[in-house]
Structure formats: structure tokens, C-alpha cells
Amino acid sequence: MPESLIEFRDVTRTFGKGEKAVTAVDDVSLHVDRGEIYGIIGFSGAGKSTLIRMVNGLERPTSGSVRVLGHEISSMAESKLPAVRSRIGMVFQQFNLFRSRNVSGNVAYPLKVAGWSRARRRERVEELLEFVGLSDKAEQYPEELSGGQKQRVGIARALAAEPDILLADESTSALDPSTTAEVLSLLRRANEDLGITILAITHEMEVIRSIADRVAVMDRGRIVESGRVYDIFSNPREDRKAGFVGAALKDRPTSEDVQRIRQSTEGRLVTISLQDSTAMSSVLGRAASHGVSFEIVHGGMNTTKNASYGLLTVAVNGPQPSVDGFLAALADAGQVQEVHG
């Protein structure tokens, strides 16, 4: 049984009172185990920010229990929280660097808070700047850095006091795609090399796909599904079609897509989920022997942290029985669903 560092049990957070009350987090239960990267994905307003802030007590639940590193955070006095918070690093969407301090000063701040001596601070700051590849920027101020560099400083600062947990609050949402990849690989290294447990919230599927081990999809305050990243991506359920996974991945054609596809092609439209790409290509390769032709009209392959998967929508042309036979063969290699436009 792996050790749970973060455990939410029946957690609800309501803002406001009476008729104007808004439930930001609605009866959420989840646990994050030591050493894993747990992602929570959802559109903005889904309650992710409130949820992650309850881990270090920046927000308090209205009801339910939040246990972190063996402490009941939900009922802890504000004066007791600093001790727990110093074992939890946090990375923010807008970086939140101190403008009045240079890069070294930013990274050293949590060490000062934790009472490290000047000599140990200097050594640790050097080590961290090397880890994030910014040793040459130590004396610069935040406004002299690019977005990606700022976030690397943010990560160095969050890792400074050797925390057990790293909270990543939309850590790449303000960055362009290439810097996003850079920051994500840094988070993955922090997880792999330093063994730090990461809870990341995001609205970007890319983040989940490339670093998370497990994922929870959040919608209007609730966790609507959760599981291992690979399982969720490679095997989306029908009822999830309108949900976040589908929308963010664009893995299935929308009804507008289908209309457009219909203008240029005939034949049966099916979506195939691929979990084993070699088996699939061999089946697709036998299309001719079934007496049908097909074209790929939507979708493609994707890679998660440790496996690949994909969703392809194909238009199959040919006589009715041949098409049926071909689809039956496809069903042996993956899950096949008819697309109705």
C-alpha cells in the first residue's frame, strides 16, 4: 500500500451564503501517493485552484477533511500552518516572483523562512540554479527574465527548502509551447531525480499527457472521472465524449467536423481507439483484402508519459458486407464506434 501524502475526504468548499452561495469544490475525495505526479484537469472555474489551495491551507474546506503529510490541514490553526507549508513547495501560473529580489534572493527566501544559515543558503541556491539551468542569471531581477526563465526560478524557489510535495498551479499556462515543454521536463526531473510528489492542476491536456501518472477530471467542482492517465486517454468512454478529455484532445470530430467531412467523402465514419498501434496498422493494411478502401479523416497518435495511444476517425468505402467484415476485423484490434453526424 503506497503512502498517501495528500488525502481529500468528502471535501466541499462553498463561497458566500444563502442564495448567492457558490460551491467551488463539491464533495471531492482523492489521494496522492508518495512519488507520483497527480494531475487535475478542468476548465477554468471548475474549482481546481480552490482545491489545490486547500493542500497548504491557503483555502479552508467548508466541510470534509484534508490530510497532508499526516496533518489535518482543514482544522489547523493559521499559526501552526507555516511548519507544514515549509514542506510544500508551490509554483504559480503568474510565477509570483518577488520583484524586489534578484534570482538568488527569490530562491533563498524560503530558506530564510526555514531558518537556514547564510552559508548553507548560498550553497543550496547555487545547487538549485544549476538544477534549473540558470546559474548565469543569479544576479538578475525577475523583469529581466523571459517567461520560461521566470517559471524556472519559480520552480527552483519551490524546491529550495527540500519539500516533500510540489503544488503546480497552472504552471505552464502563461507560457508558449516550447517553454511549456522545457518547464514540464523540469517538473518531471524534479519528480524522478528528487523523488518529489507533485500535484498539478491545469487546463492543458499536454501537461497531463506528458508528466502525470494519474489524473482526475474536474467539472463544476466535482471529480467526474479519475484513473491512470494511460487508461483514461486510450480508452475514453462514450459518455465522456462531450467531456474534457475529448474537447481538449480534439480526438473525436465535432458535429461541425463531421459535416465538413461529409462534404468531401462518403462511406461509413467510425472512430477507432488505438492502444496497440502495430496491431492496428496491420489491420488497416488489410483493407484491400477486405475489398474496402478507407481514408483517415480525423485524429492521430498521442504519447503519454509511458505509452502511446490514439483515436482515429476513418471513412470506410466499399460494398456493405465488405465494410461490415472490415469493421469486425478492426474491432479485434481496438474499440470501434460509429460516428453519426
Binding site: L58, R85, M90, F98, R99, R101, Y109, P110, V113, A114
Partner: protein, 225 residues
């Protein structure tokens, strides 16, 4: 023009002017030190106790806000008169430079409180959240995050106040204080010697300009742009 000043009775006017400058610096400096510190504390109170603030407390905020709003609009001359009993009981006298300093402390405290509050509001709340997330205590956040982050604008705000204090100190003469304002009225205006009044004008211009330049320079240095 040059002859007018060459023929001035410098043996009398010179020392009188120097004494006036000394009085002005005395009044402005003491009022600035006390008003600056007390005003900072009240300004921090206004900022941290507001809704969603670090020490959010509606009763404390309401009280602080009420007092600031009550005192701040009172014209300085009226404040001098209104505080007379308090000034006498605290300073021991209702006249002279120290009495003026006492009233100036009141006026500058509440002006500074508002200026401090307004400058702190411009701090990115995310930075404060980051410090909280690192486990910094609230006192540490005030001292090592809020004040450094707002230092540049705060310096400009304080510069504004020190110039306002120079303005207030010019009224010292009405309750027996000295200073440049008193010099301009007593030695210049009352004796129909505009050339002496203009000396006071020149001194005040140099005084205020130097302070403003010093303030701008320090703020720029802090903001690094």
C-alpha cells in the same frame, strides 16, 4: 536688482534667514519621523485588515478608515486651533515650534496612512500568496515582502508628504513658531520688503526641489528603471 541684494542689511537678515531655515528643517524633520512611522503603521493596518487581507478584520478596518477620513480633510490651520488643548497637555505649551511639530505629526500621520495604503494596494497579491505558501509568518510577510515590494512608490509617496510638511511648517508663525514662512511674513511682508520675501521664496524652491530630486533618485534606484 543685484544692487538691492548687495545693499541688504546682511548682518541682520543673514542670521535671521539661517535661523528660519534651521527652524523649518527642525519642524519638518521631526514631524516626518514621527508621522512617517505612525502613518506607516496605520497604513499597514488599513491594507492588511481590509477584506481578503492578511489580517482581515472588518471592525479594525472600519475604525482605522473612519479615523483617517475624519482627520485628513481638516485644513491645517483649523487642526492647529482644534488640537490646542491636546497640544498644551502633551507639549506643555500651545505656542512655538514644538507645538507646531505636534500638530504636523497629526496631519502627516493620516496623510501618510492613506498614501501607504494606496501604494500597498498595488502589490501583486500573488506575491503575498507565494510567501504564505512558503510558510512565512504574517509579520515576516509585512516586513520582507510588502514593504520591499512597494518601496519605490512608497519613497515617492513619502517625498510628496515631506513637501506637504514644508508647506504646513510655513504656517508656524501664526502660533509663534519660526521657519521660512514666518521669516517671509515678518521680515518681508510686514515691512514691505518684497526683496526679503523673495529670499524666502528662493530658499523654499531650492529646499523642495532638492527633496524632490532626492526622492525621485532613490525611487528610481529602488525600481532599477
Amino acid at each position: 536688482m543685484i544692487d538691492t541684494y548687495r545693499n541688504l542689511d546682511w548682518g541682520y537678515i543673514g542670521p535671521a534667514l539661517l535661523e528660519a531655515i534651521g527652524d523649518t528643517i527642525y519642524m519638518v524633520a521631526w514631524a516626518f519621523v514621527f508621522g512617517g512611522i505612525i502613518g506607516l503603521v496605520i497604513g499597514l493596518t488599513l491594507y492588511t485588515t481590509r477584506e481578503g487581507g492578511l489580517l482581515a478584520s472588518r471592525p479594525v478596518w472600519l475604525l482605522a478608515n473612519f479615523v483617517v477620513n475624519l482627520i485628513r480633510p481638516i485644513p491645517f490651520v483649523i487642526l492647529i486651533a482644534a488640537l490646542q488643548p491636546l497640544t498644551i497637555s502633551v507639549i506643555g505649551s500651545g505656542i512655538g515650534n514644538d507645538a507646531v511639530v505636534f500638530v504636523m505629526i497629526w496631519a502627516s500621520t493620516f496623510a501618510i496612512a492613506r498614501i501607504v495604503e494606496q501604494n500597498l494596494v498595488s502589490i501583486d497579491p500573488g506575491v503575498i500568496e507565494a510567501a504564505r505558501a512558503m510558510g512565512a509568518t504574517r509579520l515576516r510577510i509585512v516586513l520582507t515582502v510588502m514593504l520591499p515590494e512597494a518601496l519605490g512608490p512608497l519613497i515617492l509617496g513619502y517625498t510628496f508628504v515631506i513637501i506637504a510638511l514644508t508647506d504646513m511648517s510655513a504656517l508656524a508663525g501664526i502660533i509663534g513658531g519660526g521657519g521660512i514662512g514666518n521669516f517671509a511674513i515678518v521680515e518681508g511682508y510686514n515691512r514691505f520688503r518684497p526683496e526679503v520675501t523673495w529670499l524666502a521664496v528662493a530658499v523654499v524652491i531650492v529646499f523642495v526641489q532638492s527633496l524632490q530630486m532626492l526622492g525621485n533618485w532613490s525611487a528610481k534606484k529602488v525600481l532599477r528603471r
